[in-house]
C-alpha cells in the first residue's frame, strides 16, 4: 500500500497514513486530488479507480470515506477487506465507532492502524490478536499519574 486516507463527505481529512517517502507539499497535493476524485464518484460505480500508476480502492462507511492507494499488481478485493477489517477494529475498540471518535482520538486510530498494517502490508489479520495488543498497551498506563493542576483538569491549559 502507498497510502491510506480517511476523509469526510466535505473533504476534511481525518486520518492520513503514508507508506512511501513524500514531501509535505506532495502529500497535500495528492490528498487534494484523490479526495476530489473519490468525492465525485456516484454511488453505483465500482470501488476501484485508476490514478497515475496506482489503483485507488475506496469505500464509504457512514460519513467517512476510507481510501487506499495500492500498486498496480495488488489484489483489489482483498484491499477492500483490509479497509473493512480496519473499520471492524475501530468499531470494537471504540464501541460503535463514528467519525467523532476518530477526530477526538486520532492518535488511537493511528496506533490501531499500526498494529494492523505496517510498512503498507498487513501484519496481523486476526482481529483478536490486534485488539489484544492494543489492550495490553492500554493497560500499561494504568499507573499512578502525576497530580494535575486544577486548570489542567478542566482543560484550560
Amino acid at each position: 500500500m502507498q497510502f491510506m486516507l480517511l476523509f469526510s463527505r466535505q473533504g476534511k481529512l481525518r486520518l492520513q497514513k503514508w507508506y512511501a517517502p513524500l514531501s509535505d507539499t506532495q502529500k497535500k497535493k495528492i490528498s487534494r486530488e484523490v479526495i476530489q476524485m473519490v468525492l465525485a464518484r456516484k454511488p453505483k460505480m465500482c470501488s476501484f479507480l485508476e490514478w497515475r500508476d496506482l489503483k485507488i480502492v475506496y469505500k464509504r462507511y457512514a460519513s467517512l470515506y476510507f481510501c487506499c492507494a495500492v500498486e498496480d499488481q495488488e489484489n483489489e478485493l482483498i484491499t477492500l477487506e483490509i479497509i473493512h477489517r480496519y473499520v471492524e477494529l475501530l468499531d470494537k475498540y471504540f464501541g460503535s465507532v463514528c467519525e467523532l471518535d476518530i477526530i477526538f482520538n486520532f492518535e488511537k486510530a493511528y496506533y490501531i492502524l499500526d498494529e494492523f498494517i505496517l510498512g503498507g502490508e498487513a501484519q496481523e489479520t486476526s482481529k483478536k490478536n490486534v485488539l489484544k495488543a492494543i489492550e495490553q498497551a492500554d493497560m500499561l498506563q494504568e499507573e499512578a499519574e502525576t497530580p494535575r493542576s486544577v486548570l489542567e483538569e478542566i482543560g484550560l491549559t
Binding site: E76, L77, G155, T157
Partner: protein, 697 residues
C-alpha cells in the same frame, strides 16, 4: 462518543479540538491555532520543567495542528524527550510525532536512534514493537544504517515474541525497499524462508510480504520458499472453516494469507518438482471448484474474500500459462462474472480477461464472450468499466472479429470521454491495420476516425494511412474517391484536408475521368478549405497544387494565378512564401518532361521496421525520435535503395533527384514506415492517460 475512558483522555486536547471544530471561519480557526501555538511555545520555553503528561499533551496538540494542514516548526526536541519516558502513552505520542513530522536534523536523528536502540534492547515486547513501528514508518537511511544489521537477528531469534517478529519482518521490508544495499540477507536467508512454516499465522502473514519482495530481487536465493508456500496454501485451502479459528474471515479461511501465498508463487515459474506441482494444481482446482459452490454467507465480506482468492489464483494460472484446462476454466469463471450483479466483479473480470486474451490456450475461449463485452461497452454506467471493456475488445481482436470490433469501437468513440479518445484512436488504427484483409476497409476506418475524433488523430495515424495507400496500388483509386467524398462535407476536420490534399495530389488522376470529380472540381474543393487551415496544412496543399499542375495541365493557369497572388508569394510565413515562389517558378520554366520527373508519383515506402527503426528507438526511446534523426535514417534507407545521389542512378526502382526529395518530401521526411511506431505511441499515451485520467470528473 469520545472514548475518554480509554487510558487517559487528555482533556485539554479534547477541549482544544472542540474549539477548533466550533470555529465559524477559517480565520477564526487560524486565530485559535496561533493562540495555542503561542501558549505551547511559552510552556516549552518556560522555566518550570514540564512533567511527562503535559509534554505529551502539548506534543499531541502540535501533532493535531499539523495534521489539520498547518506547518509546525518546533516541538521535535520535546517529542524526542518523550521517547525516553518509561510511560507507554508518552513514548507512543513521542514516536507518533517524530514518525509524522520527520526531521532531518542530525542531532535529533542521533537522539532518536539512541532511543530506538534502547527500546529494541529493552526486552519489553511492547516497547520493542513501538520502536520497530517507528523505524517502519520513517524508514530513513540513517535508521537503516543504524538498525539493518540488528533487525534480522531479532526476526529469527528463538526467544522473540510473535508480535515482535511480525513487526520486525515488515520493518525489515520497509528498510529493504528504501535502502536495499544496507539490508544484507546472506546468512539469514534460509531462516527467514523457514518462517513460512511458523506455527503463528500472523508471523507467516508478515514474513511472506518480506519474502515476496526479496524473491523478486533475488529469485535464486529464495527459491526454496516455493515448495513451502505450496504446502501452506494447500493446508489452508483444504481446511474446514473452523480449523483456523481467528484467522477465518467470514467463513473464508485465511484470505489474506492465501492471497499473499498466491502472489509469492507468481514470482516464480511453475514448480519443477512433480509432486509440488501436482499439489499446487490440485489447490488451484479446489479454489475454482469452491467458486461454484453456494456461498456460506450472504455478506459481501464473504464473497469479496472468497473472490479475492479466486482472482489471485486466476492471476497465477495466467502467469504460468501452461495448464490449458485451468486456463479455460478460469476463462469460464470470469465469463460468469462478466454478467454479475456487482459492478466490482464485472470490472475485475474484464480486467483479468484482458491478460487471458493474450494466452494462446485461452484466446479462443475469451472470444466467445464478445457479445457480452460489446454490451458492456454500450450499457455500463461507470466509465472505468466501459474502458476495461474497450481494452478487452482490443486484446481479443483478431482476423475473425476485427471488423465487428472496430465498428463497435468507432461507435463508442463518438461518445467517449475526451481523456481517453487519443488512446482509443490509436487502438482502432492499429487494429484496422493489423487485421485488414481488404484495404479499402482500412481506408474507410481511418477516414471515419478522422471524421469522428479528428482532434485526437495524431500525426502517426494519418501518416500511416497515406503510407499504406502509396504502397498499395489496389486501394489508391478507392482512397481518392472516398477522400473526395469526405471533403464535400461542409465542416470537415483539418486532418481530413491534409489526408485529402495529399492523396488527391498523388492519385487525383484516378478519379479525374468522372465529371463530378474533374481536376478543376478537385482543385476548387481543396482550395475552398485553404483559408480555414493552419500553416502546415496550407503548405501541404500548395504541394498538392503543383502536383495538380503536373497531372492536369489544363489547371495550370488557374493554379498559377492562385500561386501568384499576394497572399501566397508575399505570405508572412516563410515556408508558404518559399513554396509558392518555387512552385510558381517551377511551373513556368520547367518543361513537361522535367516537371513530370520532379513530380513523379511517390515511391513505395520501404518497410523499415528492422535495423533503422530499432536503432532510432534505442537512441531516444519510443515515440521521442527527432526529425533530424529520422531524416538521417531516411537518407540511410535511401542509400540502401541506392537513390541518394543527385541525378539518380539505376539501382533503385524509382530514383529521384535529391532536390525533388527535399522540396516535395521534406515535410514528410518523418514518415515512419512501420506500425511499430503507432504501437509505441499508444503505450506512451496510455501511460500519460493514467497520469491525467479522471480530471474530467
Amino acid at each position: 462518543m469520545p472514548a475518554v475512558s480509554k487510558g487517559d483522555g487528555m482533556r485539554g486536547l479534547a477541549v482544544f479540538i472542540s474549539d477548533i471544530r466550533n470555529c465559524k471561519s477559517k480565520e477564526a480557526e487560524i486565530k485559535r491555532i496561533n493562540k495555542e501555538l503561542a501558549n505551547i511555545r511559552s510552556k516549552f520555553k518556560g522555566d518550570k520543567a514540564l512533567d511527562g503528561y503535559s509534554k505529551k499533551k502539548y506534543v499531541c496538540k502540535l501533532l493535531f495542528i499539523f495534521l489539520l494542514g498547518h506547518d509546525i516548526d518546533f516541538g521535535h526536541m520535546e517529542a524526542v524527550n518523550l521517547l525516553s519516558s518509561n510511560k507507554y502513552t508518552e513514548k507512543q505520542i513521542g514516536y507518533l510525532f517524530i514518525s509524522v513530522l520527520v526531521n532531518s536534523n542530525s542531532e535529533l536523528i542521533r537522539l532518536i536512534n539512541n532511543a530506538i536502540k534502547n527500546d529494541l534492547s529493552s526486552r519489553n515486547p511492547t516497547f520493542m514493537c513501538l520502536a520497530l513501528h517507528c523505524i517502519a514508518n520513517v524508514g530513513s537511511r540513517e535508521m537503516a544504517e543504524a538498525f539493518a544489521g540488528e533487525i534480522p537477528r531479532i526476526l529469527v531469534a528463538g526467544d522473540t515474541m510473535d508480535s515482535v517478529k511480525q513487526s520486525a519482518a515488515l520493518c525489515l521490508l520497509r528498510l529493504y525497499k528504501t535502502s536495499p544495499d544496507l539490508v544484507l540477507m546472506g546468512e539469514w536467508t534460509s531462516r527467514v524462508v523457514h518462517l513460512l512454516n511458523d506455527q503463528h499465522m500472523g508471523v507467516v502473514t508478515a514474513a511472506i510480504s518480506l519474502i515476496t519482495c526479496l524473491s523478486q530481487k533475488n529469485p535464486d536465493e529464495f527459491k526454496t520458499c516455493v515448495s513451502l508456500a505450496v504446502s501452506r496454501l494447500s493446508r489452508i485451502v483444504s481446511s474446514a472453516s473452523t480449523d483456523l479459528q481467528d484467522y477465518t474471515y467470514y467463513f473464508v479461511p485465511a484470505p489474506w494469507l492465501s492471497c499473499k501465498l498466491l502472489r509469492l508463487l507468481q514470482c516464480y515459474p511453475p514448480p519443477e518438482d512433480g509432486a509440488v506441482k501436482g499439489r499446487l494444481v490440485e489447490c488451484l482446482e479446489t479454489i475454482l471448484n469452491k467458486a461454484q459452490e453456494p456461498p456460506k454467507s450472504k455478506k459481501v465480506q464473504h464473497s469479496n474474500a472468497k473472490n479475492a482468492i479466486l482472482f489471485e489464483a486466476i492471476s497465477l494460472i495466467i502467469h504460468y500459462d501452461s495448464e490449458p484446462n485451468l486456463l479455460v476454466r478460469a476463462c469460464n469463471q470470469l465469463g460468469q462474472f462478466l454478467q454479475h450483479r456487482e459492478t466490482n466483479l464485472r470490472y475485475l473480470a474484464l480486467e483479468s480477461m484482458c491478460t487471458l486474451a493474450s494466452s494462446e490456450f485461452s484466446h479462443e475461449a475469451v472470444k466467445t464472450h464478445i457479445e457480452t463485452v460489446i454490451n458492456a461497452l454500450k450499457t455500463e454506467r461507470d466509465v472505468s468499466v466501459r474502458q476495461r471493456a474497450a481494452d478487452l475488445l482490443y486484446a481479443m481482436c483478431d482476423r475473425s472479429n476485427a471488423k465487428q470490433i472496430v465498428a463497435e469501437m468507432l461507435s463508442y468513440l463518438e461518445t467517449a470521454d475526451y481523456s481517453i479518445r487519443e488512446e482509443m484512436v490509436l487502438k482502432v488504427a492499429i487494429l484496422a491495420e493489423k487485421y485488414a484483409v481488404d484495404y479499402s476497409w482500412y481506408v474507410d476506418t481511418i477516414l471515419n476516425l478522422i471524421r469522428i475524433a479528428g482532434d485526437y488523430v495524431s500525426e502517426e495515424v494519418w501518416y500511416r494511412v497515406i503510407q499504406i495507400v502509396i504502397n498499395r496500388d489496389d486501394v489508391q483509386g478507392y482512397a481518392a474517391k472516398t477522400v473526395f467524398e469526405a471533403l464535400q462535407a461542409p465542416a470537415c476536420h483539418e486532418n481530413m484536408v491534409k489526408v485529402g490534399g495529399y492523396i488527391l495530389g498523388e492519385f487525383g488522376n484516378l478519379i479525374a475521368g468522372d465529371p463530378r470529380s474533374s481536376p478543376l472540381v478537385q482543385f476548387n474543393l481543396l482550395h475552398s478549405k485553404f483559408h480555414l487551415c493552419s500553416v502546415p496544412t496550407r503548405a501541404l496543399l500548395l504541394s498538392a497544387y503543383i502536383k495538380f499542375i503536373n497531372l492536369f495541365p489544363e489547371t495550370k493557369s488557374t493554379i498559377q494565378e492562385v500561386l501568384r497572388s499576394d497572399s501566397q508569394i508575399r505570405n508572412s510565413d516563410v515556408e508558404l512564401q518559399q513554396r509558392a515562389v518555387e512552385y510558381l517558378k517551377l511551373s513556368s520554366i520547367a518543361s513537361t518532361d522535367v516537371l513530370a520527373t520532379v513530380l513523379e508519383e511517390m515511391p513505395p515506402f520501404p518497410e523499415r521496421e528492422s535495423s533503422i527503426l530499432a536503432k532510432l528507438k534505442k537512441k531516444k526511446g519510443p515515440g521521442a525520435v527527432s526529425v533530424n534523426e529520422l531524416e538521417e535514417g531516411k537518407r540511410e534507407a535511401g542509400e540502401l535503395n541506392g537513390g541518394g545521389e543527385r541525378g539518380g542512378d539505376t539501382h533503385s526502382p524509382t530514383s529521384l533527384p535529391l532536390f525533388s526529395q527535399t522540396t516535395i518530401t521534406h515535410s514528410f521526411s518523418h514518415i515512419i514506415s512501420s506500425s511499430l511506431v503507432l504501437e509505441d505511441r499508444m503505450q506512451n499515451v496510455v501511460k500519460n492517460n493514467h497520469k491525467q485520467m479522471f480530471f474530467c470528473f
